[in-house]
C-alpha cells in the first residue's frame, strides 16, 4: 500500500495499463511532454516514448475522432479532454460515433476507448471549468459513464475502463484530485495522505464497472451520491446525526440497481445528491427508477439536492455547490415526511 492522491492513482493506473498492454496509447492536450495540466499522465512519455504518449492539437473532436479510428484499428486509446466543459466540441464524435459504431456495424468495428475528463467545481473554475455533464452522457445508448470519488476506486475503475470492450467516459471530480472534501470549503484541503481511501495497492487491480459501494451503512434513509457529493453526504450525516446509508454509485451506466434496491427496501427513504444542475439531471433518472421499482417500499417522497439551474458561477461557487447544510435539511424533511 502506498498513499496516493487521486492524481497519482490515475497516473499509476495509466502506467500499469501501458506496461501490461502495448496497444494502450495515451494522448490529449498537454498530456505528453508535460504530463497533463493536472499531471495525471506525468512521466508516461518519458517511460513509453512519444509513439505511445503524445501531445494533441487543441481539437476535442479531433482527439475523440482520431481515438475512434485508433480503437477501430485495434489500439486502446486513453484520451484526456482537458476539462469536461470542453467535451462539447467532441460531443458529436462521442454520441453519434463512439457510442454507436459497435451497434451500427453489428460488431464489425468496435470502440474500446476511455475518454477521461476532469469535472465538477470547487476550484474557482467559473462557468467553463466546473461542469458535471454526466446526464448528457448517461442519456446516450452505447456509452458507459464512471465517476470515482477516491484514489483507490479511481485506479481500479480506470483499469476496468481500459479493459472494457466499449467506450467509457471517465469523469474525475477535480476537487477530489488532491484530497477528500468534507463539505466545508473554508477549511484547508485535507490531503489523501492519511485517508484510508488514499492507501492504494501498488499492483494491478480492477474495480468492476457497474458496482456501487456502500460508504456508510444505516437504517433511516438512503443517500444516493457520487463523486464529490459522497463527502458532502458524509458531512451532512455527521452534522444531522441521522443513521443514513450512503451509497457511492461509482458507475452511472451501467447502474448498480441491486444495491440501490436493497438499501431502499431497508430504509424506505431516498435522498439523491449531485453537483450538476437539477432539471433533467441524473438525479431525475434515479428518482424515476426508485419510484417505478420501489414505490410501495417508500415512506416519503424521493428528494433531490443538486446544483442550481444556473451556469456554474465563479464568485458564488459555494452558494451553487450542494452544501452539507442543504442536504442535511432535506434529510430531516424526508425523515419527517
Amino acid at each position: 500500500m502506498v498513499q496516493m492522491t487521486m492524481i497519482s492513482a490515475i497516473q499509476n493506473a495509466h502506467d500499469l495499463a501501458m506496461e501490461k498492454d502495448d496497444r494502450v496509447v495515451v494522448y490529449g492536450e498537454d498530456v505528453g511532454f508535460f504530463g497533463g495540466v493536472f499531471r495525471c499522465t506525468a512521466g508516461l512519455q518519458e517511460k513509453y516514448g512519444k509513439n505511445r504518449c503524445f501531445d494533441a492539437p487543441i481539437s476535442e473532436n479531433g482527439i475523440v475522432g482520431s481515438a475512434i479510428g485508433m480503437a477501430a484499428y485495434g489500439l486502446k486509446p486513453v484520451i484526456e479532454i482537458q476539462f469536461a466543459d470542453y467535451m462539447y466540441p467532441a460531443y458529436d464524435q462521442i454520441v453519434s460515433e463512439a457510442a454507436r459504431i459497435r451497434h451500427r456495424s453489428n460488431g464489425d468495428f468496435t470502440c474500446p476507448m476511455v475518454i477521461r475528463m476532469p469535472c465538477g467545481g470547487g476550484i474557482f473554475g467559473g462557468q467553463t471549468h466546473s461542469q458535471s455533464p454526466e446526464a448528457l452522457l448517461t442519456h446516450v445508448a452505447g456509452l458507459k459513464t464512471v465517476m470515482p470519488s477516491n484514489p483507490v476506486d479511481a485506479k481500479g475503475l480506470l483499469l476496468a475502463a481500459i479493459e472494457d470492450p466499449d467506450p467509457v467516459v471517465f469523469l474525475e471530480p477535480k476537487r477530489l484530485y488532491n484530497g477528500p472534501f468534507d463539505g466545508h470549503h473554508e477549511k484547508p484541503i485535507v490531503s489523501w495522505g492519511k485517508h484510508e481511501l488514499g492507501a492504494v495497492e501498488e499492483d494491478y487491480y480492477i474495480t468492476p464497472l457497474g458496482k456501487a459501494a456502500i460508504r456508510r451503512s444505516g437504517e433511516a434513509v438512503t443517500i444516493l451520491s457520487y463523486g464529490t457529493m459522497v463527502y458532502v453526504a458524509e458531512a451532512a450525516v455527521e452534522e444531522t446525526g441521522v443513521d443514513a446509508e450512503i451509497i457511492d454509485l461509482r458507475t452511472l451506466v451501467p447502474l448498480d440497481l441491486e444495491t440501490i434496491e436493497t438499501s431502499i427496501k431497508k430504509t424506505g427513504r431516498c435522498v439523491i445528491v449531485h453537483e450538476a444542475t437539477k432539471t433533467s439531471g441524473f438525479g431525475a433518472e434515479l428518482a424515476a427508477l426508485v419510484q417505478e421499482d420501489l414505490f410501495y417500499h417508500l415512506e416519503a417522497p424521493v428528494a433531490r439536492v443538486t446544483g442550481w439551474d444556473t451556469p456554474y458561477p465563479h464568485a458564488q461557487e459555494w452558494d451553487y455547490f450542494p452544501s452539507p447544510q442543504r442536504l442535511g435539511q432535506k434529510i430531516i424533511e424526508t425523515l419527517e415526511g
Binding site: N51, G65, S66, R104, P254
Partner: protein
C-alpha cells in the same frame, strides 16, 4: 460622441455576399469559365515532393484520357487492357445496380436509395489502387469501393432491403454499409465524422509500425464540417499515412459547391494551409483517378504522409431517392458537363486500344444487367423492407454493448423478446 477626424472615405452600408451557381432551372448551362487543362499537361511530382513543390497541382486538373480516347502524359499508367476491361465492368455493374435499386425504391421495396451516376470512376478506380488490409472511411456515394473490392452484391442488396440476411440486422438506413474484411468502415449518417476517424486509424497503423494505410472520403458540401479541419490538422501534424479524398460533384443536395468552398480557390488548395500535398484530378477519367490514387497511396505507404485529392466530377443523378434536382439546377447541366461520362470515356479508350467494340459493349451491358437482376431476385427472395422476413426486434437490443447490461436486459424483456 465626440466628432472624430477620420481619413476614411465615404463607404456604402455593408451587404452580405451569398454566392450563386452559374445555372438555375430555366438557364442555359455555361461551363466556359471552367478551366480544363489538356490531358497529359499536368506534371507528375516525385513521391517525396513537398506541398510547396507542387502548389500548382491544387489548382489544375490531372487528366490522362484525351478527346480521342488516348492515354497521354506523365500520369498515364501501366494498366493492361484486361485491367481496364475489369474497371469498365465494375463501373457498369455499379450503374446497373443503381438503376435496379432506384427502381426498387420507387416500387416501395425499400425506404431510400442513393445513386452514383456520373461518379463511378472515382470509387471504382480508387479501390484498385489499394492493398488488402487498407481501410476506407467512406461516405454513402462510394459503393464502387465495395463492388471493385469484390464484396458480394447480394449482401449490399440485403442491407438496402433490411431483410433477414442484412449483415447489419436492419439497424442502419439503406446504403450505410459496413464491411471490415473489405476495408470499408461503417458509414455514419453524420457527414464528415469519418474523416478524422480515418486519420486516427492511419496514426494507429504508424504507431504499430504496420504497412497499412487509410483513405478518408468526403463530399464537397461536407468539407465545411469542423471534423474535416481537425482531420487535416492531425494528418499534417502526425504525418499520418492517409489519402484524404474530396469528391467535388458540384452539388450538396440543392447547394452548389461554392457555398462550402467560400473564398478558397479550390477544395484541394485548402491543403496548402496545412502543408499537405494536394492535387485535383479529373474524376470522370478512370485512368487519371487510378494513377493519382496509386501515387498518393504509395506516398502514404512510404511514410511521406497525407495527400489531399479533389475529384472534379458531376453528380448526374439526384442527391437521393428523395431529391428532385430539377427544382434547383438546370436540366441540361448534366449533359453539358465538360468532363463527360466516365463509362463512355473508358469505353472509347478501350476501343482506341482495339480491345473493345461498340457491339461488345452493348452485349456487356445486357450481361451485366442480367447478372444484377439475378442477384436482386435472390435478395428479394429473402425479403424486402415491406415483404418477407424482417430482422427480429430482438436484434435492436443486441450489440449496443459487448455484454448486455441489466437495464437493457429488462427493456428487452419488456419489449417481449
Amino acid at each position: 460622441m465626440a466628432e472624430q477626424a477620420s481619413s476614411y472615405p465615404e463607404i456604402a452600408p455593408l451587404k452580405l455576399h451569398v454566392p450563386e451557381p452559374g445555372c438555375r432551372p430555366g438557364d442555359t448551362p455555361d461551363f466556359s469559365e471552367f478551366e480544363i487543362p489538356r490531358a497529359g499537361a499536368v506534371p507528375k511530382p516525385e513521391l517525396d515532393a513537398s506541398a510547396d513543390d507542387m502548389l500548382d497541382l491544387a489548382f489544375s486538373i490531372i487528366r490522362v484520357l484525351n478527346k480521342e480516347g488516348e492515354a497521354v502524359g506523365p500520369w498515364a499508367d501501366d494498366l493492361s487492357p484486361d485491367d481496364l476491361k475489369q474497371g469498365l465492368r465494375h463501373m457498369m455493374l455499379l450503374r446497373a445496380y443503381d438503376t435496379r435499386m432506384m427502381t426498387a425504391q420507387r416500387q416501395g421495396k425499400t425506404s431510400f436509395y442513393m445513386q452514383h451516376r456520373g461518379e463511378e470512376a472515382v470509387s471504382c478506380a480508387f479501390q484498385v489502387a489499394l492493398q488488402k488490409g487498407d481501410m476506407n472511411f467512406p461516405t454513402y456515394r462510394q459503393a464502387g469501393l465495395l463492388i471493385a473490392g469484390g464484396y458480394p452484391m447480394e449482401k449490399m442488396m440485403n442491407q438496402i432491403y433490411s431483410n433477414e440476411a442484412d449483415p447489419l440486422h436492419g439497424r442502419q438506413m439503406p446504403v450505410l454499409f459496413s464491411a471490415k474484411d473489405y476495408g470499408f468502415f461503417s458509414i455514419s449518417g453524420n457527414l464528415g465524422t469519418q474523416y478524422i476517424q480515418a486519420v486516427g486509424w492511419a496514426m494507429a497503423s504508424a504507431i504499430r509500425h504496420d504497412s497499412k494505410i487509410a483513405a478518408a472520403w468526403v463530399g464537397d458540401g461536407a468539407t465545411a464540417e469542423g471534423d474535416i479541419h481537425s482531420a487535416m490538422v492531425f494528418a499534417s501534424t502526425y504525418k499520418a499515412p492517409i489519402v484524404m479524398n474530396i469528391v467535388n460533384n458540384q452539388w450538396a443536395i440543392s447547394t452548389f459547391q461554392g457555398i462550402a468552398r467560400g473564398g478558397a480557390g479550390t477544395f484541394a488548395s485548402r491543403g496548402h494551409g496545412f502543408g499537405i500535398p494536394s492535387v485535383r484530378v479529373d474524376g470522370n477519367d478512370y485512368l487519371a483517378v487510378y494513377a493519382v490514387a496509386k501515387w498518393a497511396a504509395l506516398r502514404a505507404r512510404s511514410g511521406f504522409g497525407p495527400t489531399i485529392i479533389e475529384y472534379v466530377t458531376y453528380r448526374a443523378g439526384g442527391h437521393s431517392s428523395s431529391d428532385d434536382p430539377s427544382a434547383y439546377r438546370g436540366s441540361a447541366e448534366g449533359a453539358a458537363w465538360p468532363l463527360g461520362d466516365p463509362i463512355e470515356r473508358l469505353k472509347q479508350h478501350l476501343i482506341t486500344l482495339d480491345a473493345w467494340t461498340e457491339e461488345r459493349h452493348v452485349q456487356a451491358e445486357a450481361e451485366v444487367m442480367d447478372e444484377v437482376k439475378t442477384i436482386q431476385k435472390q435478395a428479394e427472395a429473402i425479403g424486402t423492407l415491406t415483404s418477407g422476413h424482417p430482422p427480429s426486434g430482438r436484434d435492436m437490443f443486441e450489440g449496443v454493448y459487448e455484454t448486455m447490461p441489466p437495464h437493457l436486459v429488462r427493456q428487452r424483456r419488456e419489449a417481449g423478446y
